[in-house]
């Protein structure tokens, strides 16, 4: 009969020790999988709910003939811009069909910039004619701005006490470069994001990597979603449009728009 060696005892001990670790790893991975599944289910459910709600709001509206939808969108677009022109303040028109972003003042296009890249939520791709017109049939109003740069930079300067102080103050200049990314929350419960970029490839890599301001914003949204999911509630879903334009123009538009500016959109 063969006797057990000290080595055999050691291997048994190690096996037992790693069985505990194995159970922990399996248990941990299963919890992660369960969390992802619940998160995905509730997040997608939130989008579906939002779509149902939008559709319910247009119930009873006149049906839009599919053959005329293009023309009706054109009509809604011009009508909406005309309404915006009746305001005294500067408004923003977003023409995703022609890749144009324009600042308009009393119907006059004061600035026009080519959209370098854009992406819109699946919600917009799936909406029907009636939902489209309820969303974009008239000008929208900006409710809130969040931006990576100051919207209205206004410095307070102490008057110099003498000519020497005045001369010294003239030589101080601000040369720091800040990334330009801003978000506006619109009154029909969706967001318009404007990203300042200097090339299409830069916009794509930046969006994927989610650096800086944009990353912090995404992280905040995820944290809010998780807080809801922990309570087994569906997170709030806000469809969004992300537009990339040259950085200088993104900055100019942000600073030109008044607090509750009107926005017209054509998709």
């Amino acid at each position: 009969m063969k006797e057990n060696s000290a080595e055999d005892f050691d291997s048994l001990y190690v096996k037992k020790k790693y069985t505990g670790l194995k159970t922990f790893v399996i248990f941990f991975c299963l919890i992660l999988l369960a969390l992802i599944s619940v998160y995905t289910y509730l997040s997608v459910g939130a989008v579906r709910d939002r779509m149902k709600l939008s559709q319910a709001q247009t119930e009873g509206a006149t049906a839009v003939s599919p053959s005329l939808i293009g023309l009706m969108k054109d009509k809604a677009w011009v009508e909406s811009r005309l309404k915006m022109a009746s305001n005294d303040s500067i408004g923003l028109s977003v023409d995703l069909e022609n890749h144009l972003l324009q600042l308009e003042l009393k119907g006059v296009v004061v600035m026009s910039t080519k959209i370098r890249d854009y992406s819109a939520s699946g919600f917009f791709k799936r909406m029907d004619g009636n939902v489209y017109f309820s969303m974009f049939g008239s000008p929208l109003t900006i409710q809130k701005y969040i931006s990576s740069i100051e919207k209205n930079p206004f410095k307070v300067v102490q008057a110099p006490k003498n000519e020497a102080e005045a001369e010294a103050a003239r030589s101080i200049k601000d040369t720091i470069h800040h990334e330009v990314f801003w978000t506006v929350k619109l009154d029909r419960d969706f967001e318009l994001n404007i990203q300042g970029i200097d090339s299409v490839s830069a916009s794509q890599s930046k969006y994927k990597l989610g650096k800086g301001f944009e990353f912090k914003r995404d992280l905040k949204n995820i944290t809010n979603s998780f807080q809801q999911i922990i309570k087994f509630k569906k997170p709030v879903y806000t469809p969004e449009i992300l537009i990339s334009i040259p950085e200088n123009e993104a900055k100019a538009i942000l600073r030109a728009l008044p607090r509750n500016a009107a926005v017209t959109i054509r998709i």
Binding site: V14, Y18, L21, V25, F28, C29, L32, I36, Y39, T40, V44, A46, V47, M51, T58, G60, A61, T62, A63, S65, P66, L68, L71, M72, K75, V78, L82, D88, S89, I90, L103, G107, V108, V110, S121, G122, F123, R126, M127, D128, N130, P153, F154, K155, V156, Q158, A159, P160, K161, N162, E163, A166, G210, D218, I222, N248, A252, R255, A256, P258
Partner: protein, 219 residues
Amino acid sequence: MIRTFLIYLAILIVGVLFFGSMILFGVPALQESTFVLPKMATQAGAEEAGTTRESLEKEISKLQNKLDKCTPNDAYIVINTNDNHFYLFKNKQLIRDGLCSSGKNERLVSAERNYKHDFYTPLGVLKVLTKQKNPVWAKPNWAFIEDGLPIPPPGDPSRFESGTLGAYKLTLGDGYMIHGTIYKRFMGMSVTHGCVRLGDEDLEVVFNTMAIGSKVYIY
């Protein structure tokens, strides 16, 4: 022994990374994907009576004409205060553009003199109210406070300066003007007290093109 431990550790790390990437990218992508979202069925309802392709095209063209009429046919100028660039239009065509200088967005405060003044270029639509050749600048109080100088009484000769405003000025109301400058090196920068400064040649063209009543769009 260590090998088994490392394998479990790797599985844990992969699991955490997978979880993180799903939360950060996977689920948001799925939310936006048309694959999981149903297409909204067009609501049943009455078709708009009498709407034809022709009638819609006619309406759009009418509305577009109305919108086009908002843009003046005569001369107007657009000023971009962010890039400090101006665009001069006539007959809806761009006839000249170039650098300008606009308001520096500053509040000057003097506690000793109990004084404050905001330096900014107002945004919106203004009109040319008057035009003048060889203007003389009547220096307001802030010009002395900003330079740390005592404020002279109204009408004092030290308040009047020739040449500072260049060869022409176009007044826009509330003390704001389009004028020339002796500080050419500041062209393209936000350095003014609210007025719009142009280079000599640009100013001459703007002065000769714009009439009293011409619109000035500032953003």
